[in-house]
Structure formats: C-alpha cells, structure tokens
C-alpha cells in the first residue's frame, strides 16, 4: 500500500521548500523529494574542502521576498542576512570605481570620474526607486493570459495600464525604456563614465546569452534598487553560513509546519492517468501518491523527462522544446591562504567586503560576449567576485578565506571540445584574468573548484547550466514564462504544477515563484480563466 500525500514537491531548492511550507501551513500533508544528499538546489552551502564552506552556486541573497521572510518567520529559523556593501571595480590603468551603499560617498567617488555623472547619479537613483515601486507588485502576481485574460486578468492588465498612465511622463518614459532597452543604451542617457556603465550594466546580462548592448537587458538594473524599497531588511547580502542557510531556514519552517523532507530521493517519473497527475515514481522504484504534484525543477526535466511528451499537447511540447536555457556562466570557488591584493587599491580593506566586479569597460564586456557568441568561453571574462569569509568567518578556517567567482561568459554549447576537456583551461583563464588585477592571487590559492555549465546541469539539475532555469529575456518573462498560456503555475496535466525559477518572476534567491505557486495551488493567487479553477481541494478563496 503506497503512501498518500496531499502534495508532493519535486526538488528541495528554496522555491520547492517555500511552496511546501505554504501548503503545509494551509493544512496540507506535504512531501518534498530532493535528488541530492543536501537540500537547497542552487541555494546551497557545501564544505567542498575541509573547513571551507562554499555557496557553490548562487552566492548572494537577492530580493528574497520580505513577505516570505515574515510569513515563514525565517529569522527564527536561522536566516541572517549580512551586509554586502558596495561594488569595487578595479581598472587596468590602476584606477578604480568603488560604489558603496553610502550614497554620499558613492557620489564623491563617481565625481572623481565625472562631475556630471555625480549629478546624474542622484536623479538616476531617485528615478530607479520610482520605477521599482511600479514594478514590485508585478512580482507577486500570477501573470494573466493576454489571449484569454478572463475578468480577473483584464482587471489586472487594466490596472497595470492605468498605473502606467498615471506615472509622470518622465517615469513612464524611463519605464518604457527600462523594459525594452539595452542596459548600456539606457545608461548612456545618464552617464558618461565607461567603467560605471560597464559595472552597472553587468547585472543585466547575468543568466542570459545577451551582451550589455542588447535590448532587453536594462530592466534588471531595477532589481538593485528594489531592495531599497523592501526596506526593513537587506535584500542584497550574504546569508550567514552561506546561501544554503536560506534553504535550511525555509526547510526548518516547512518541517515545523509538518512537511516531510527526503533527500537522495530522485524522482524518475510523474504518474499521469487520464491527464491527471496522481503521484511520482522514484528512481529506487518506490511510488508515492498525491493529490497534487508541484515541480520546482525546470520544464525540460519536468515535462520531457518526468512526465513524457505522450501525455502533453503537441503545441506545449513544441513550446517547451524551444524554451531557451543555454547557460552562459560558470563558477570558480577558491580557498585562499590570504587576501587578494588589488593593484588598484592595495591591502585589506572594506573594498574587499563587497562585490568585486571585473568589468573595466563596456568594450571589455562586449568582447567577453563575442567569444561566447562563436562558441568558446570568454578569454577575459566578466566576473562578480565575493569573499564571504570577511563578513562571515564561520565559512573558513581562522585566517583563511573563501572566494567565490561568478564567471560569464561560459556557453554551455562549446564549438570545440567538451566542458570536461576545457574545465581546467577555463579555471586557468579565470585565475589569469584575476591576476591581471590582483597579481598575488596565484600564490594564495589552496584549493580551486571549477563549476562549468555542464556541472550545473549534471550535479544541480539545471538544464544546459542555466542558473535561472531558463533565460530571463523578454520573450520568456511574465505571461510567457515558461510557455505562453501556461504562466499560471498550472500545466496541461491536471494537478501538476510548476513552482520553480522557470515560472514568473524567475530566478534568483527570491522564492517568489515558490510562494506564488503555492497560492495558485490553493486557488488563492491567480487571475484569468485557467487560474480561476480552484486547487484540487476546492478551498474557498
């Protein structure tokens, strides 16, 4: 007699766990199944080398929704966000750009490069905060289907249009541009300092296969300002104990609510009978029944591998087939014997406690992209580097440090050779690039872990190594994520739901998809005809 649950969640990452926690708090009997031996998915801390704890994949907490922190009381379950203060960009000529959370100081720093830009920076920050205010509510909303919006959907769309119409002309203009322009194109209108534009625009390309001059990369600039609106807590920062602690704290909240969590329990198949999901079969042969199955793994795995095209409409299969992953980034995690010494700002100091951005110029960023376009990793890649051990000593032995390097571009599809062959060459390229700015780096490396897009796919189950479970590009956002007509967290299979980063509002340690999905499952979230169907338990709204 197989076990029976109200809901099974596939994948124990931060989104899956969030969905589980919300469902359990609504009184459901929930089981979370995680393939790996640790929880967290890509929000995971692992002691790769004795004494050195890495946030192996994602490395900073970005936009974790405050309502989730409150609802699940994550602080009590061990979540502590430590400050990630500023961004330090070393330049080849020995100069640098160092922006911090102290607006005045940043203004003075920018003035060193351009007085005009320092003036513009105030106006820019203000404008971005206004924009963020406009966009923020969209993140917690279930996208309506524009081809058959239903009353609720029409109301939502009309509401958006109306809020847009009532923005001051200037903000409307900025909004329009932010949603459509390239990051550099947008910043060109405000600033003249190349290194400033390069560093700011970098956030626009993370997780996409686009360059900083490609339209559609501007809107991510907003994310960095949304934090300020969330107020209360720091939305950009380190999680004490690594990003795994985010997942751990959500897991703790889930367990407290009665969620059962199994690790090393890989799902082989989702059981579908007459178009309805009724449970899952594990790779060890066990099968478990449930009223609802919610998958936090990406659509390719969920539908092509676990569900099977034979159960799905042709159009949907086609859409999932062309849903774009093409991971473009890798990770290099280092164990250090001492701190890197940057020529542009020698010695230890607060500049090492924030992000260190290897983005000296817009052309540098573009050339890094050019390499990837033609199928090789960047000879001189863009990097976003953090040294969490400076802020959180618990992740490294005394006097030692961990350094996490996010590296782009590293295209999943290589023109020549395989990632297994190129892995170490990629690692060397990263070290050589860092050495151009911090020559002592080679002498202080104790251990080096190279994570390629292929590793992300094999070990962390991210198809084609895309860190966001699919590119965050305009044609894959909002009501188009992950497939047109299926942005409501529902799927063509009754009682099968999606709750991962491949759903609106997408990737990052936001946990918003997990929460929105839970609401949809409980019949409380959605708009539009499809979403108006209640969850299987016919709950009152």
């Amino acid at each position: 007699m197989p076990q029976k649950y109200d809901a099974i969640i596939i994948g124990g990452g931060h989104n899956g766990l969030t969905t589980a926690a919300y469902l359990a708090r609504a009184g459901r009997k929930v089981l979370v199944l995680e393939r790996r031996h640790v929880l967290g998915g890509a929000a995971v801390t692992e002691e790769v080398f004795p004494g050195f704890k890495y946030s192996v994949c994602s490395y900073v907490v970005s936009l974790l929704r405050p309502e989730i922190i409150r609802d699940l009381d994550l602080a009590r379950h061990g979540l502590e966000i430590l400050p990630l203060d500023g961004t330090f960009t070393p330049m080849p000529d020995g100069n640098h750009l160092w922006r911090t959370n102290d607006h005045g100081q940043t203004r003075r720093e920018i003035a060193r490069h351009s007085r005009l830009d320092a003036e513009a920076y105030d106006e820019y920050s203000q404008a971005m905060i206004e924009m963020g205010r406009f966009v923020k509510p969209i993140m917690a909303m279930t996208p309506p289907d524009p081809t058959r919006p239903g009353l609720g959907g029409l109301r939502d769309l009309a509401g958006l249009a109306n809020r847009f119409r009532h923005l001051p002309l200037r903000d409307r203009y900025n909004q329009l541009q932010l949603m459509t322009m390239s990051a550099v194109g947008f910043l060109d209108q405000w600033f003249e300092t190349d290194v400033l534009k390069a560093t700011m625009s970098a956030s626009g390309i993370i997780g996409t296969f686009l360059g900083v001059r490609s339209p559609g990369t501007a809107y991510v600039l907003l994310h960095h300002y949304m934090g300020e609106i969330d107020g209360a807590f720091r939305s950009w920062g380190f999680s004490r104990g690594g990003t795994g602690m985010v997942s751990e704290s959500i897991a703790a909240a889930a367990r407290l609510a009665g969620v059962e969590i199994r690790t090393e329990a890989a799902v082989a198949k989702i059981i579908v009978s007459n178009g309805t999901a009724t449970g899952v079969i594990l790779e060890n042969g066990d099968y478990i029944l449930a009223d609802v199955v919610a998958s936090s793994v990406d659509p390719r795995l969920t539908f092509m591998k676990m569900t099977g095209a034979e159960h799905l409409p042709e159009d949907f299969v086609e859409d999932i087939g062309r849903y774009k992953f093409r991971g473009s980034s890798g990770k290099v995690n280092l164990a250090l014997d001492a701190l890197p010494n940057f020529t542009a700002m020698p010695g230890d100091g607060p500049h090492l406690r924030g992000a260190i951005s290897i983005s000296p110029s817009v052309d540098y960023m573009e050339r890094a992209y050019d390499d990837a376009k033609y199928g090789s990793f960047s000879k001189r890649p863009y990097m976003d580097i953090v040294i969490p051990s400076l802020t959180d000593p618990s992740v490294a032995p005394p006097g030692k440090h961990v350094m996490s390097c996010f590296v782009q571009y590293a295209p999943y599809h290589l023109k020549d050779g395989s990632w297994d062959e190129q892995k170490e060459a990629f690692g060397d390229t990263v070290i050589n690039t860092i050495a151009e700015f911090a020559p002592n780096i080679r002498d202080i490396i104790l251990h080096r872990q190279v994570v390629t897009p292929l590793d992300l796919e094999r070990e962390w189950g991210l198809s084609e190594g895309n860190i966001f479970q699919g590119e965050l590009t305009l044609e894959q956002l909002f009501f188009l994520r992950p497939a047109p007509g299926w942005a409501s967290y529902r799927t063509p299979i009754r009682n099968l739901y999606m709750c991962g980063s491949a759903t609106h509002p997408g990737g990052g340690i936001m946990a918003a998809p997990g929460r929105n999905a839970a609401m949809a499952i409980l019949g409380r979230g959605g708009t539009g005809a499809r979403a108006k169907q209640r969850g299987p338990w016919r709950l009152p709204v």
């Binding site: 119409r165 203009y173 060109d188 339209p215 033609y374 007509g485």
Partner: protein, 516 residues
C-alpha cells in the same frame, strides 16, 4: 519678401511630397522647400532600389497614376558559399519547391511561416496605418483603432497570437532558427530584420524590426517591387500629384531657421536669407535636426531637448552605386535566369552577419559586410545605355560614428571591403566597373538630412515606436512649438518608403489649422 502661405513643408522626400499633396488638396496654400537640387530624398535612384507596395491608406488618399510597377519573379536570391543559392519567389509555392531540394523540413515549414506571419503582421499593420494612440487622452479614433487591432489579435489562432507576443523582443537569429534549419535561409530572413538597424542578428529586438518591415510588405524577404525609371519615378509621381493639387516645390532651398514668435511658428528663413511667413511648418526632416538645429536654441524645453538628443539614430547602412560596362556574372545564379530581376543577398550564415555587426560595435566598418545587390538595368532599359549596367548595393555595417577615423579615410576602405564581398559571388566584377559612387552614413546625414545618417531617422526599437516615436508624449505629429509638426520617418509609423508619416502628419495639420 515672399507671399505668406498656410504651410511650409521641409523636405521633398516621399513623406514631404505626400504631405504637401494632402495639404494642398485640402485647400491650404503649401510650399515644399528642398535643400537638394532634386526631389525624392531617400526615395531616389541613388539610394533605394526597391519600394514596398503602395499602402492602401496612401492609395485611398491620393492617386499615383502613370507608374509602371515591376514585380520580379524571384524577389531575392540568397547566395552562399560554394555556389549555393536559395531563390525566394513571389509565388510562395515555387519557393517551397526550391527549398525542398535543400531541406524537406524547411520547405514544409516555409508555408506555415508565411501563413502565420501574414496573419500576425495584419495586426501590426492595424496600428501602423493610423496615428499612434494618445495614452493620456485616447480619442474615439484611438479606441476604434486599438479596438480594431485588438479584434484582429483575438481573431488570430492562438499559436499565431502567442507567436506575435513572443517574436517582437526576440533576436532575429533565434526567430529564424526556430523556424528553419538551413543557415543560408536563416541568414536571408535575419538580414531583413537588420536593414538600417544598429543591431546584430543576436541582438534582442531585431525581430521587431523584421515585423515592422513585413507590415508594409509581407513577403518574407520583401517582394522587391520596382517602378520603371527607378525609385525616383515614384517620387516624381508624388511630386506631380502635389503640384497638380496646387503645392509649390522649391529646390535648392535650404532652411536656416524655423522662426518662432512667442510659442508659435511664424515662418521659416532660408539659407538664401529669404523669409517665408506661414501658419504652420511640417518638417519631413528628422526630428533631431528639426528640433535641435532648425529651431532657435532655448525655444524647445530642456527636457525635450535632452530626450531628443537621446533618440538612438546611428546610421549603419552605406550605399554603393556602380556603373558597369558589361553584365556582371553570378555563377551561383546560372540556373536561375530570372534572379537578376530581384535582389541578391550576400551573407552565408548568421555568424557572418553577427561578425559584420561586431565591427560596428567597436566603431569600425565591417571587413566582410552583408550586402544586398540589385542590377535594375537588367529589367529596366531606361537605367543604363544598351550593353551597360548599373549595380546598386546596400552594405552593412558602416557606423556613422567611427572611432579614431573619419569617413574621408574610411570611404575607400568601405568600397574595397564591399567589392571583395561582392566578388565572392560575382567574380571579375572589378574589371567591368566604369564608375563607383560611395554614399556613407555621413553623406546620408549631411547631404540627405537623415538624423545620424540613419535610413529610418531613428532605430525601430520598442522604446522608439508607436506612442514613443519620435518621443513619448509627442507621437501625435505635434511638437512643443505651436504650428511646428513632425512628419518624417522619425515619426510614427516610421521608416520605409511608405509616405505614411507624411500622410498622417498632414491630416493632423489640416485638422489643427481648421480649428484655428
């Protein structure tokens, strides 16, 4: 002191001429002033080698008699490496047949492609042949128009509707590869999304420019229409219609200033020192040139000036005109005798186009440019003496703003690169060249008055279209100056030889002047 008129139209390009005809016919005394000695602007033989079909809205508004239209059997032939050629016929069945010899799958999908696209761009068209809606105070007409577009959208089958939503923001490279497998086929489709745009095939949004092109000519590669006598004959017909309606066209008359008293236009002063008083000025010159150069500084509010400066308009297209003393030979076309009736695409795959764009990103012209070649003299005897020929080449990328070089230095380099690329498909071309004219984006800006040398007077990007063309809050053809109106390709619905911006602007001006 010249006699006062109702409206001065700046520029005798297709938009200026269409506007003049409409205004004059409406009983307004209208004078068109053109800086160059000839009419046509971009719609002349030196520049455009094809014309989109006359838009129904224009056909309704004015008659364009006496034009002999020529529709080629093959609209465009894509020529790839090792003599491979893909003909795009105006009869889609023949294209499908030709494709079946290359890829059964692509041949099969081409039919669906044409079907879905034709349906989709009808929706796009519905918002392009009327003024962009006013977001703040939508008029009855706006709602009607939007209603129409919405109706057409709902009428689409869901696949196409979703497609339309997805396609716009996509890189044309992804769009093309979603549909087709053959690289040359992909490149030929992609290229049309890039014409005039500071975008590469992998730049997001390049599919939007493709859809914009299709809205005016739904053939996947453009149907390659021409008129006997060349594009200038089309402009001449517009000019004839305008004069017949009572408009005066004055050539070699450049504007120095648009005269503003208080907050309203009172006239224009010409470079000759002459002044023409008028109630309204309709400028078919680019919005940047009009607002930043032709109007006295200080008149336009600083915020508008700043936003106008920020209109992205960097030209990337160069034009090469060759006089030949023999018919050029394209070995790849030996089996396609009618191919020279249309155009030849040179750019074997998407990577080739992308690399061509890379050069422009760093402020240089493409070492291996993408070319679109036409040899009009093969089907229009009036274009060259017997036995001789003219070859017209669009070449991309040639960025207006070069880094560390001037266009004077770059001009011969550009020509050399273009000829090298052309000889790859037409060996021996150099030996038959009698004369070569190179028109750089700098020429397009300085001689033809196109903003930034951009053939559309500004990028066709999501943030520069519809309600945001030329500027958000200014899409209704008006400007901050009473009596000054903008009716160039820089206004809605944008570039391409359609005359629509001029038409819609003129209708607006006529309505405004009636009120006053």
């Amino acid at each position: 002191m010249t006699a006062p008129v109702d409206v001065v139209v700046i520029g005798a390009g297709h938009n200026g001429l269409v506007a003049a005809e409409q205004l004059a016919r409406g009983g307004l005394s209208t004078v068109v002033i053109e800086r160059r000695p000839g009419i046509g602007g971009a719609a002349s033989n030196g520049l455009a080698h094809t014309i989109p079909p006359v838009h129904p809205a224009l056909a309704r508004a004015m008659s364009l008699g006496g034009l002999e239209w020529m529709k080629p059997d093959i609209a465009l032939t894509a020529v790839g490496a090792d003599g491979k050629a893909i003909p795009f016929y105006n009869d889609h069945r023949k294209t499908i047949e030709a494709l079946s010899g290359i890829s059964a799958r692509d041949a099969e999908r081409y039919g669906t492609f044409v079907e879905q696209l034709t349906a989709a761009v009808r929706v796009v068209g519905a918002v392009l042949d009327r003024p962009a809606p006013d977001m703040d105070a939508p008029s009855f007409g706006d709602l009607l128009g939007l209603g129409g577009a919405a109706r057409r959208f709902r009428a689409l089958d869901r696949r196409t509707a979703y497609g339309l939503l997805r396609w716009g923001p996509m890189p044309i490279a992804d769009f093309a590869s979603e549909w087709f497998g053959d690289e040359l086929l992909q490149a030929a489709i992609a290229a049309r999304g890039l014409l005039g745009a500071m975008l590469g095939p992998r730049s997001a949004g390049s599919t939007l420019t493709y859809l914009h092109q299709l809205a005016f000519d739904p053939h996947p590669t453009g149907s390659g229409l021409t008129v006997a006598g060349g594009t200038i004959a089309f402009s001449a017909a517009l000019a004839t219609a305008a004069t017949a309606a009572g408009a005066t066209i004055r050539l070699s008359a450049g504007v120095r200033r648009i005269i503003v008293a208080g907050d309203a236009v009172t006239g224009v002063s010409l470079e000759s020192g002459e002044t023409i008083e008028c109630r309204a000025v309709l400028s078919a010159a680019g919005p940047k040139q009009t607002l930043l150069d032709l109007v006295e500084p200080g008149v336009i509010p600083p915020d508008t000036v700043m936003r106008t400066r920020n209109i992205r308009a960097q030209g990337v297209t160069a034009k090469i005109n060759l006089s030949l003393d023999a018919l050029p030979v394209f070995p790849a076309l030996s089996a396609l005798p009618s191919a020279l009736g249309g155009r030849i695409h040179v750019g074997p795959d998407v990577d080739y186009l992308e690399r061509a764009f890379d050069a422009a990103k760093y402020g240089g012209s493409s070492p291996s440019p993408w070319l679109e070649i036409a040899v009009p003299s093969t089907h229009d005897g009036s274009r060259a003496p017997a036995g001789r020929h003219v070859m017209s080449i669009y070449a991309q990328y040639a960025p207006r703003a070069l880094r560390g070089r001037t266009w004077t230095d770059e001009r011969p380099v550009l020509l050399e690169n273009v000829l090298r690329a052309a000889e790859a498909v037409a060996p021996g071309l150099r030996n038959i060249i009698v004369n070569a004219e190179v028109i750089t984006p700098e020429d397009l800006e300085l001689t033809y008055g196109m903003d930034g040398g951009h053939i559309h007077h500004g990028e066709h990007a999501l943030d520069q279209m519809l309600v945001a063309r030329p500027l958000l809050g200014m899409s209704g053809y008006g400007s901050p100056v009473r009596g000054l109106y903008l009716g160039s390709a820089g206004s809605h619905p944008g570039g391409g030889i359609t005359g629509l911006p001029g038409l819609l602007a003129a209708q607006h001006v006529a309505a405004q002047l009636k009120k006053r």
